[in-house]
Structures are given as C-alpha cells and as structure tokens.
C-alpha cells in the first residue's frame, strides 16, 4: 500500500467526521446549557456559545430542586429508577434464562406455536393493555407502587429475555446435554452444571438490555405511578420540562442526569449492548 494522498479515502473520513459532528450537536447543547447560569441561558444570543464559566448551579437545582419556586429535584426520582430497574432486570433475566433453557433444550409439543405467541407480546403497543393493567394492579394491591411497576416490567420483559436466551442456548451442543443426561443429571442438574455456567455472556447481554430499557421507559411509569415522590426519573424529567417556569439550564442538567447511567453502561459495555440490539430487540 502506498502512502500517497487518496481523495476517495479522504472523502470517507470527511463524511464520517461530518456525521459524527451532527450526531453530537445535542450533546453540545446539553453540556453547553447545563453548565450555564440561569442568567446566561436566558441570553438567547449566546445559546450556541460555550458557557463563560463552568457553573454547577443547574445540577444542584436539578438534583435537589428549588423549593421556593415549587421545583422538585430529580435526586429522589433517580433513586426510584434504581430501585425499579435493578430488581426488575434481575428477575426478568432469571426468568428469561429458565424459559430459554426450556425452549431450546426441552421443547414440549406446541412449543413452536407458543413461542411466537409469547414473542408477539414485545411488539404490541402497550396502550392496548394499560387500562386493564391499572385496574388489575390496584385489585391485587400493587396499584401506584414501585412493586407494581416492577411486576409489569418483568412480565413484558419475558418475550425479549426468553428470545435472547433461547438463541444463546441453542448454540450449546445437544450432545453435551445428552451426555449429562446419560450421567444421570436431571432438568435442574443440566441447568446448574452445564447451561448456567456457560450463560455469563448471555446474562450480560440481557441485563444490559433490560437495564437500559427499563431505565428509559416512560409510558408504564407515567400511567401507573401518580405520586411524584414515587416516579422514576424519566417521568420526573418530563414533568420538569413541562412545567411553566422553564429554566432551560436546569432542564438540560436534569436530562443529563437521567441519561448518564445508561450512557455509562453503553460506553463501558458497548459490544454487549449491540448484541442485545441485534437480537431483535426494539425500543418501544
């Protein structure tokens, strides 16, 4: 290969950089505005300029709120998101692993009909179940609670977690399972000694996927949780941005706080994130 200037390759890099800059515009605005003071963000002529100094007052306000203006902080809601996301993610990953094991290694008659019927559940517009869901949750005493929302995320997470694990376990050779069965291992023995120890990458993919989706979810949360002190951060952020007193620097700081946990996971574990994405998973 020669080192001489190649116009075609130059064009490729220029285009890639141009697209990257366009993709980063919202990040620029987010960072630029959230580090500004209220006075500075009010000066519209400076909207596109960098903050004159790094100012953390917007983050302070977004986190703890401004009680005298009736502005609620997002801090408690971030905690709610954590309390919601972690149990829901772990439970749905475990369920998905068990289901995937059954559907890949213990196919029962009718499994080929039941599995697509299960999968359909991840594509439906959840609007079509919201009212019965609210009624049922309050009947079983989980209405308006975080546990109710956890249950909802676990149930509607079953299709995708099952799908990812089923495809993952399908790669485990049947001979291994057979050999273990001949050695006298039963259903749980095979799971414990063969499938589960091989599952780590599968669990990473599913956990990252569920964590991201549940953290980012809005429709179930806004419908099922009315009390502001129970709502997860997406709902609180939308309330903050929809409120009358619009301090854009505070809103942008809030958006950044809401985005950071999933962004960190994405940047650290990007490879697994993409695998979840390509497993046929969708953002709803």
């Amino acid at each position: 290969m020669t080192a001489r200037f190649n116009p075609a390759r130059f064009a490729v890099y220029m285009l890639l950089i141009l697209f990257a800059l366009i993709f980063l515009i919202p990040v620029y605005v987010l960072l630029g505005s959230s580090f500004k003071t209220f006075a500075e963000v009010q000066d519209l002529s400076k909207m596109w300029s960098l903050p004159s100094s790094i100012n953390l007052e917007s983050f302070q306000a977004a986190w703890s709120g401004i009680p005298e203006q009736g502005l609620r902080g997002l801090g408690p809601n971030l905690i709610n998101s954590i309390k919601l996301t972690i149990p829901a993610t772990i439970i749905s990953a475990m369920l998905g692993s068990m289901n995937g094991y059954v559907l890949s290694k213990w196919k029962f008659p009718g499994a080929n009909i039941i599995f697509p019927l299960m999968l359909f559940g991840m594509f439906i517009p959840y609007q079509a179940v919201l009212v019965p869901l609210t009624v049922t949750l309050s009947r079983i005493g989980l209405g308006g609670t975080l546990w109710g929302l956890i249950l909802v995320h676990v149930v509607y997470g079953i299709p995708i977690t099952t799908l990812i694990f089923r495809n993952y376990y399908a790669e485990v050779p049947n001979e291994m399972v057979e050999a273990s069965r001949i050695d006298g291992a039963g259903f749980f023995g095979i799971y414990r000694h063969i499938m589960f120890p091989l599952s780590l990458p599968g669990f990473v993919v599913v956990i990252i996927w569920q964590f991201t989706n549940i953290w980012n979810e809005f429709l179930f949360a806004v419908t099922l949780l009315q009390k502001p002190e129970l709502q997860p951060i997406t709902v609180a952020l939308r309330n903050l941005s929809g409120s009358q007193i619009k301090e854009w620097n505070v809103v942008m700081a809030g958006a950044l706080i809401a985005a950071i946990p999933t962004l960190i996971v994405y940047i650290v574990m990007g490879r697994y994130f993409i695998r979840g994405l390509l497993a046929g998973s969708v953002k709803g």
Binding site: L16, F23, L103, P132, V152, F187, L237, R238, G270
Partner: protein
C-alpha cells in the same frame, strides 16, 4: 420414553408455565379486555360496560357522529403516515450510508460507531427534552435554537416556526419535520448497526470474486452486496415501522399534540383522552386500532421469521 424422562419433561414444562400464564393474561387477556372496553359506554371515572357496538370506532372515523374526535383522529392517521414514511426513509438511507462508510476499513471505526449509536442508549424522554430546546423557535425579535443559529450564519430566510408551525402541505403537517429529525437521530445508529452486521457477514471471497471478474468498488456494492442486504432492509423496515406506528414518549415530551394537532399521533390522543379526559371507551378504541396497525406489520413478520428459521 421411560417414566423418568417423562417426569423431567413435565418439570421443564412446569418451569415455563408461569411465564406462559402471565403473558396469556397480561397480553392476550388484557387485549381482549381493552377490546370489550372499546365496545362499551365507559366514559367517565366509573366503569360502564354497557354494550354500544362499534359506535366508539364510528366516532373516530365519521365526521358527522364524531365531530372533533374524528377530525383529530383523521389528522393523527395522516401524521402517522407522514411520520412513518419520512422516518423510515431517513433511517434506512443514513443507516446504510454510515454502514458502508464504516465498512471501508477505516481507522477509529470503534469511535465512530460509538458516536452514531449512543442515542440508542438514552431515553426518548431525554431526546424529546433536548430536541425541544434545539428546535424551540423563539420569537421574531428573540430567536432561539436552530433559528438563532441560522441568524448567526446569515440564513435569516430559513427561519420558521418548526414544531409550532401549523402549516400543512395537503394533509401533511410540516411541524412533524423536527420531530422526525429527532427520532431519526435516535434510531439511525440502530439501522447502521443492523447493516454493519450484515456487511460483516458477507464473506470477503465473494467481494474478491466480483473484483476479479472486473467489478469496480461501486459495482461490487450495487450488484453483490446490496442484494444480500435485502433481508436486513426488510427487518429494519418492520422494526422501525412498528416503532413509529406506536410512537408516544418522544412526541409527548417534545411537542405534545401541537397547534391544531400538528404533531398529534394516536398514542398521544389515546393517552390524553383516557387518562386526562376519562373517555375510557374512546381511548380503548384508539388503542385497538393502533394494535391492529402494528399487528398487520408484525404478524406476517413473525410467521416469515419462523418459517425461515431465521433468528429474529
């Protein structure tokens, strides 16, 4: 099969049974329940399951009986069509372009990929909040957002009201353009990742063979690679298409229903009429229509995927 093996099979089935039962209730049972609400008189806080036939649907489609609801729903359907077509176009075009660019054995591919794909990791709510700020038009004398930027670079003439502009071209609301841009910003990376995985799955020998036969680089793409990417385009159309048919979070956060329903979609209408207006039966009818639209796209896809034994 001996009794031990049969016993094990029963255990396996019992382990998946709770999931099957939960989905049977939470998906199919609740859809049926919503279907019943949609043919009932429930219009207020208290449930009222008096049967009224299809009148709730009629009110969404017939301007005579439905009045403003029918007007709004008709706008919603046009908006959904416009949004879907425009959104799919942007995602597929730029997703493919970025994938092909990244496929040129570039240095720093990982960094570029990370940048194009990071919007997928954040919430539609965050996207909505940020793009609402970017496209906020401001006023004539005090322009904001993109309008301020256009003013700075001397393109005053290109300023407009963005998502606050109720102008229509035929039945198509131009206020949806900024919303589609925000949605495409979030999902282009996903399309790119799908195409890139497809490109990486094409063996190098195939490209080499075409080159040996005298094909140019663009010829290889046109005649060898593009036909092989067709199944990916198909999957992307289905996945992105069904997302845009049920879109809610992004629009609800970024613009709401907009002036004269300029950015309204069935998801927003359903949410407002059900949970703010207590018109439960009407909300149920809207959600059943949304479900039918999604099912029309997804069910053939599921059947196709399983027949092909292609992983979804």
């Amino acid at each position: 099969m001996n009794s031990q093996a049969r016993h094990e099979r029963w255990i396996a089935f019992l382990m998946i049974l709770p999931s099957i039962i939960l989905l049977a209730i939470f998906v199919y049972g609740f859809i049926a329940w919503t279907g019943i609400v949609s043919i009932s008189k429930w219009d207020g806080i208290l449930p009222d399951y008096t049967f009224v036939g299809l009148s709730n649907y009629q009110k969404l489609f017939s301007l005579e009986t439905g009045g403003i609801s029918a007007v709004r729903f008709r706008i919603d359907l046009w908006n959904t069509l416009f949004f879907t077509v425009f959104f799919l176009f942007l995602c597929l075009l730029f997703g493919l372009v970025l994938a092909i660019l990244l496929d040129q054995k570039v240095k720093g591919e990982g960094i570029f990929r990370t940048v194009y794909l990071f919007p997928m990791a954040i919430s539609f709510v965050v996207t909505g909040v940020v793009w609402q700020w970017i496209f906020a038009p401001g006023t004539e004398s005090r322009p904001r957002g993109v309008n301020a930027l256009l003013g700075m670079i001397g393109l005053e003439n290109l300023k407009w009201g963005w998502y606050t502009d109720p102008t229509r071209i035929g039945p198509l609301h131009i206020a949806l353009i900024p919303v589609v841009i925000a949605a495409a910003w979030q999902m282009i990376g996903y399309t790119m990742a799908m195409y890139l995985a497809g490109l990486r799955g094409i063996p190098d020998d195939l490209r080499e063979a075409a080159r040996v036969d005298g094909a140019t680089n663009s010829g290889v793409y046109r005649h060898v690679i593009m036909p092989l990417l067709r199944p990916i385009t198909f999957s992307a159309l289905i996945v992105l298409g069904h997302i845009s048919l049920k879109i809610f979070d992004l629009i609800y956060t970024m613009t709401g229903k907009g002036p004269a329903f300029a950015t309204d979609v069935p998801g927003v209408f359903m949410f407002e009429t059900t949970f703010q207006g207590n018109h439960y039966a009407q909300g149920a009818a809207i959600s059943i229509i949304m479900l039918l639209m999604v099912a029309l796209v997804i069910i053939p896809y599921l059947i196709y995927s399983f027949r092909q034994e292609v992983e979804l």
